[in-house]
Symmetry: C2
Subunit: 231 residues, 2 copies
């Protein structure tokens, strides 16, 4: 149990543990070992024990972890012990999909509204959730004390949106626009660029070594061509 800040890599794994615990509890499993969590998550048992130990001693030596108890603790650690109010900026395809998905599947968040500048979508509903004009974002953010926003607007609009919403109280942003966004000190921006995920996947779709050795060969040929000219 340290008091210094926990690293991002650790924080990224906590929701995975939570999801696994939810599944175990659904199957009436009451106790799970770090080994068991390892099999479900793919992370090593040592790593899981170490991750949890940053926050406290939640297990019982010789036995393992009580699933319901550990789940409760994780909820408090992550900050999901009460529903988090969230807004979505951008009512395009991705914004709509994320809104529908989280409204139904993500029990821990409460999407208050979706905002857009396009008059054609403003006034509609996405499931139960209203699409409001972007001008009303400051008012809604303040009124509901909202801290978390999802941004699904085009790249060109993203920075202006960040400036506006951080000025009115947003402190954590999940950004889907393919751009590096700047925000005031203390605001946490997490990027989720699906294009980049897909492109880095493509790297692995063809045999890595073959492609790179071909590239290497080309470079050598270019080099000797150059040498030849110099002679």
């Amino acid at each position: 149990m340290t008091s210094r800040n926990v690293s991002k890599t650790v924080v990224k794994r906590l929701p995975v543990y939570l999801r696994i615990l939810d599944n175990l509890i659904l199957r009436d499993v009451e106790i799970v070992s770090s080994r068991g969590l390892s099999l479900e998550s793919g992370f090593s048992a040592e790593q899981i024990r170490k991750d949890l130990a940053y926050f406290g001693a939640f297990g019982t030596r010789g036995t393992g972890y009580n699933t319901a108890y550990l789940r409760e603790k994780l909820l408090k650690i992550i900050g999901l012990d009460q529903k988090t109010r969230v807004i979505v900026i951008g009512a395009g395809h991705l914004g709509t999909a994320l809104t529908r998905y989280n409204a139904v599947k993500n029990l821990y968040v409460d999407i208050i509204a979706v905002f857009d500048r396009d008059r054609r979508v403003v006034g509609q509903n996405i499931g139960q959730i209203p699409v409001l004009p972007f001008e009303r974002a400051p008012e809604i953010i303040r009124e509901h004390g909202i801290k978390v926003a999802l941004i699904t607007v085009p790249e060109a609009a993203a920075q202006r949106v960040v400036d506006e919403i951080t000025a009115h109280g947003i402190t954590a942003i999940l950004n889907f626009a393919p751009a590096k966004l700047h925000a005031p000190e203390g605001v946490h921006i997490q990027n989720s660029d699906l294009t980049i995920d897909l492109q880095s996947l493509i790297y692995y779709s063809t045999a890595e070594k073959e492609r790179l050795s071909r590239l290497q060969k080309e470079a050598e040929e270019a080099k000797s061509q150059k040498m030849l000219k110099l002679d």
Copy 2:
């Protein structure tokens, strides 16, 4: 220029460099230094130079990198020098959004088809892309030599989908289902769990220290309660 495999963290940054180069070229910038790339990407200049050096020497000392030349090289390195054929499994909200998004914005991929088991969506089109019955996936994968698939089906269906498509030639999968999926040796699975991204973001939305010290205090109180009982 090493020949051992390049780490995942490096591969994840390559598409970022590519995106920045695309933007620079659009603005008619012909030369960029590692410092310049650093400012646009947020990665350190040293790291960028080192990342590129894994694949070759693409810059000019004293000058920097030619944007068009480096872009060409990166395309070959990542494997985007010809369009990658991709399929999407699952025509729900997320599958539809990803299909539309990539069909328009991602010039490097060519979505051949979307597959679904639901008869109500089969036969429709998403933009120009047909929604086909999942039974036809093996045929289409083989016919077009497709290696890359995006999976946006529910958790319960995801593993069966993986088993089926890897049996017919898929070697790289971008999985959006919240589950750890198992695949044969040599198949690369990359997970993109939006729920987990959002939950780890929520961790940062409230002051980390305050929440954790409260948790710590609770733990100590529980401990002394226990002590009391033992007296």
